[in-house]
Symmetry: C2
Amino acid sequence: LVIVGEKINSSNKKVASALEKRDGEYIQKLAKEQAEAGVDYIDVNAGIFGDQEAELLTWLVETVQAYVLKPCCIDSPNPYALKKALEVHHGRALINSLTGEKERQEKIIPLVNYHQAKVVVLCLGEKGIPETADERVQIASSVIDLLMQEGTPLSDIYIDPLVQPIATSPSAALISLEVIEKIKNLYNGVHTICGISNISYGLPLRRIINAHFLTMAMSRGLDSAIIDPCDPLIISSLMATDALTGSDSYCLKYISAFRKGRIK
Amino acid sequence: LVIVGEKINSSNKKVASALEKRDGEYIQKLAKEQAEAGVDYIDVNAGIFGDQEAELLTWLVETVQAYVLKPCCIDSPNPYALKKALEVHHGRALINSLTGEKERQEKIIPLVNYHQAKVVVLCLGEKGIPETADERVQIASSVIDLLMQEGTPLSDIYIDPLVQPIATSPSAALISLEVIEKIKNLYNGVHTICGISNISYGLPLRRIINAHFLTMAMSRGLDSAIIDPCDPLIISSLMATDALTGSDSYCLKYISAFRKGRIK
């Protein structure tokens, strides 16, 4: 699994407060614990700050990368904020995100090309999030085709089915699983990605729902996820699922994670 | 999910010792805690006792049913032991199990018919357990056809793909999932069942592997399982999976299980 560590997100109150105070130490602590947990990307988000977003997102990238040697997942719908953050980023970032919306594409695809970035594509079009899996797959297909025409290889594209909360949309998980499976069958080599914790919004013991949704999604072909890499339930799901799906032959990684006390 | 409580099994040392001493109280305690946890069937197994199996299995059925109002899953490959246990059983038992083996069929199918019992069919033939999912589906199909000819409705048949340990067979879980999905597509109304804990034999923290295997299997169509109904990890998997697959609309059962402290 390609792991994006979700912790540096301004929707979290402590992170928001650290951003207001430019508390680099707190941000670097979150970056370090996620890097040590083995993430591939560190998500950075300053979405709640409106006019200040570009400046704060840039500060997050600099603060994180001054401390850990990891690329960032730069998380913003705002092309200007993405542009400024990409300018200071070292290595190949994961841009989060592009959609089926024309205006966003016109501004973000040039950034993907210029920085040779990888890119998350949300299955969302001009009319919002489609109800059915097939409509979402259609949007993903059209964006994949466009990106490939512009020179982005399939292996740099991460399709996000858009996970909605099951508390209000009972078929939300099933729709996501269907999109993942269909995209994997249609495009050999493309990645699929989910913001796992959206699924449990509004429920008690969210970590349990998150962990079992990750298990289901991985068993359908999900190969990347935005998760809390320090949550033992999530790590248990990940290790158990790799062992169960044959990605961890003879369970050597699982046994090693057990010995290190990472699962419980 | 149709739940078969697995605890009264002679492969467990305490159960074996209770059987030797005819300690009915201990057996009834296990029956009661499983009944209270909401199982549909109580598994009874005296398989390690050789010549005494028929007598002990009969005693188990009597001991359990004297105390709880649940049917048993009568667990034995031995037609004579099954016959004796069925003679004292009240209600419709689940016979565990029939296979693709001719000799076993000739002796067990008449018991299924006479007692109008439900029956577990293991995907195992004259030459043992086949390697591939397709061969297992073939065995299941031939036994289903035979049972239906003899008058057993599809809804009384429970197909068990035969779960082998992933510690020694890395593709064991994938094969089981494939059998479950294929059987569900071929026969509308037939049940699928697994002895979940076999998957984790030889591994540390077996309960974690068991719980995530249950999640995967349920998301592919598993509708019955032989499990420990008192294990909070198993109950968490079950409740989370029902919520995620839309079987528990608006997560009402999940929230109620949380309030009762059944998941954690």
